[in-house]
Assembly symmetry: C3
Homo-oligomer: 319 residues x 3
């Protein structure tokens, strides 16, 4: 099967996952994002690249934060943005996902930004576009189940490249609830494609996928060992619902074992950077001294995230 993200010429048609995304496509997105960074610093933060295009934010799962980043990115490209809080509407009326999509395509949608609790929903929509012969309509995965969150993966790569340049020499530790994290998966695939030296998955056994060994990462259950001599530390958010479940004894015990404190961070290289996809649980997975410390690049990730999303949308729209 052809990679559904790419057209016959190998160009980006949809952004569904960092898995299977060729290095050169990724690099092209990051380079394009670079040029958009400057737009957000201008007095008039707008370029007309998507003027007259209709971008639909289809959030079947609520996420104000992520929806806002896409809304800002699209508006700075001058698109018309329509927010659909789909959880509360037609699906509740018994309509199928693809009927909802067909309707929006009939309204001349140009792009769908899709968030869905079910893994694979954006793929399904992308395949449907091919089936109905509407390959001019593009799909961006804004997070699907435990599967992928590719714009987060790409903004993480942008951040690492910005601060560390050469991926081949880097040791990157991803710490926390890897089992439930689409961010971790997207980062691992992207780091592999970009040739990162060593990628580590660090967390309690109950929060690591059983097949983690096959993903080309080194597994650590001990945080101190996992952090030793790292260049990049990516902390994952611990979802509230895990904290008092069967997988973890308590939030404070989690913090004792896997929370990033200045002492733990001292085991990494002195110039290591600390990343987090947000929103942070201070005192759970990360100590405030680290979150607000000189090694944290968490807010840079946010800034780069807007530029990366502008780049993805602009490339998809054929600019």
């Amino acid at each position: 099967m052809l990679n559904p993200q790419l057209d016959a010429n190998g160009e980006l048609k949809h952004l569904l996952s960092t898995e299977g995304l060729p290095r050169e496509v990724m690099t092209h997105i990051l380079d394009t994002a670079s040029s958009f960074l400057e737009v957000s610093d201008r007095d008039v933060k707008k370029v007309p690249l998507l003027r007259g295009k209709s971008v639909f934010n289809l959030f079947f799962e609520n996420s104000t934060r992520t929806r806002t980043t896409f809304e800002i990115a699209a508006k700075r490209l001058s698109a018309d943005v329509i927010n659909l809080d789909v959880g509360r509407s037609s699906t509740a009326k018994g309509e199928t996902l693809l009927d909802t999509i067909d309707n929006l395509v009939a309204m001349h949608a140009d792009m769908f930004v899709v968030r869905h609790a079910s893994s694979g929903a954006p793929h399904l929509i992308a395949e449907h576009m091919q089936r109905i012969g509407r390959e001019d309509v593009h799909v961006v995965n804004a997070g699907d189940g435990r599967h992928a969150h590719p714009t987060q993966g790409l903004l993480d790569m942008y951040t690492i490249r910005h601060f560390k340049r050469d991926f081949s020499k880097l040791t990157v530790a991803i710490v926390g609830d890897i089992l439930h994290s689409r961010v971790a998966r997207s980062d691992i695939f992207a780091l592999a494609a970009l040739g990162a030296g060593e990628v580590r998955a660090v967390g309690p056994q109950t929060l690591l996928p059983s097949a983690i060994g096959r993903m080309g990462v080194r597994v650590f259950n001990d945080l101190a060992e996992g952090l030793r001599d790292c260049d990049v530390v990516i902390m994952l958010r611990l979802q509230n619902e895990r904290m008092n479940g069967a997988l973890l004894p308590s939030a404070s015990e989690y913090f004792n074992c896997y929370g990033l404190t200045p002492e733990k961070l001292a085991l990494a290289k002195p110039d290591a950077i600390v990343m987090h996809p947000g929103p942070m649980n201070r005192g759970v997975e990360i100590d405030s001294l680290v979150a607000d410390g000189r090694q944290a690049v968490i807010l840079s990730q946010v800034t780069f995230g807007i530029a990366v999303r502008m780049a993805v949308m602009s490339i998809l729209a054929g600019n």
Copy 2:
């Protein structure tokens, strides 16, 4: 009493209902919509006709689908669109409907798109505009109670005219829950004004209005008889709340009697078209083989719907 939708020169001032809407006004809307169809196909899907105008989507009853179509139409006309989810706001604070409206008029609103559970609410607002001498503010009914849904009626007329040309030779069957359907009412009045040959109301006795005979339609309780030799079949959505109520035994029994299957559709003319206002309940009022079949024009209705709404807004704004 003068028709509150028309000004002294017989031009459209508000769009409240297809009832009492003169044939020439309707035809003017459909002709204007034709010219807007092309805008949505452009690379830059925007015209500046409503630039700097403030369009308020006042949805006292929630409907993401319909609100989206008006939002897209207004944005493609370059209006500033403000969505007010009114159910959750001021009315909850005890303010009267007309106080809410007066406030928005004081903010220099140009157009209200109104959805309301109570029949007549948009009329009330339109009359109020006259009373306060603000006839430059226009009202579009986006569905009021069981009364009217005129833009749906007009887009249905656009669809029929597009596929069938001459209304006078057509037999049109409207099938389903006509009792609760503002779409059916709007279609029946519009078909009458445009001179449709024969209009049929098909459904169980419990879902037909008692005064249906006076509306100039032929009544059928049997679907097969109602469909025979039809040119146009308009299927109505069966509201979920009817299905397990006193009016109907069950959804599956409804499907057996009134669901449109390929076998039933074969009784209509071979080139009959099948319409549905959406969202569809597949397997309840319509079989998927019909919904996705070659005779269905359901997605064309959606596309034409945007153009019709652009036409209505643009005519009201005096372009």
Copy 3:
């Protein structure tokens, strides 16, 4: 401590409260609003002063009415407006207020319009901007707890100035639930700065702050006495939650004592104006004969409110 609303040159940097706002800054806002009134009357109601700026409506407390006025004002200045219904999002995920703010600043926000149930939240954000050295990001208080609602205060001053010109000769009565009213507080400080002749606080003892005497107002528990020979009557909304609480016997008893009827109003000067911040409880704090009478300027307040908000945003953005 320097006034956090003003920069080193005494120019407006944030709008947090009418308390401590110098008379000349206030007058500059009102004069600027004057020039924007005309924009809302134009055919194309738009000026490009905030083009390419990102304005975030951060409503931690729901208020469709107030949010709409800021949204309209920002759109007429050509800003990109992003509405964040924050109550339902990140704070629910355990993120701190300042982490949410830092994230939006990292997305290159230019202005925050903040509504919050806690008094002082907008101040906290403004101070944070200084701490992180981002004084190019501006904060507008859209109502915080019982503390302040400065744009309402300013639009009230605009209204009084428009109808009465010289503040020094005026007697202004503020009537109702002054204890819980941020509008009353904002009006009292603004009237003092603009040199109003006499300001009266009229209401039952249980709804007056204990420190009211220190605010430079004359206190009346009797409505008739409080209204005598007034030039301006500002009626406050009685929050529903007060009506059946411990503070008041009942809504109808409140109306008997403090509701503004034509008879009561006749005690004020014949050309006295009646104001109300909306939404009104007709029959509770105000009789419909007064609300719709010739002395009411309640809808003018709404119109002026848009112009005042445009003025504040435009001044903050440095135009």
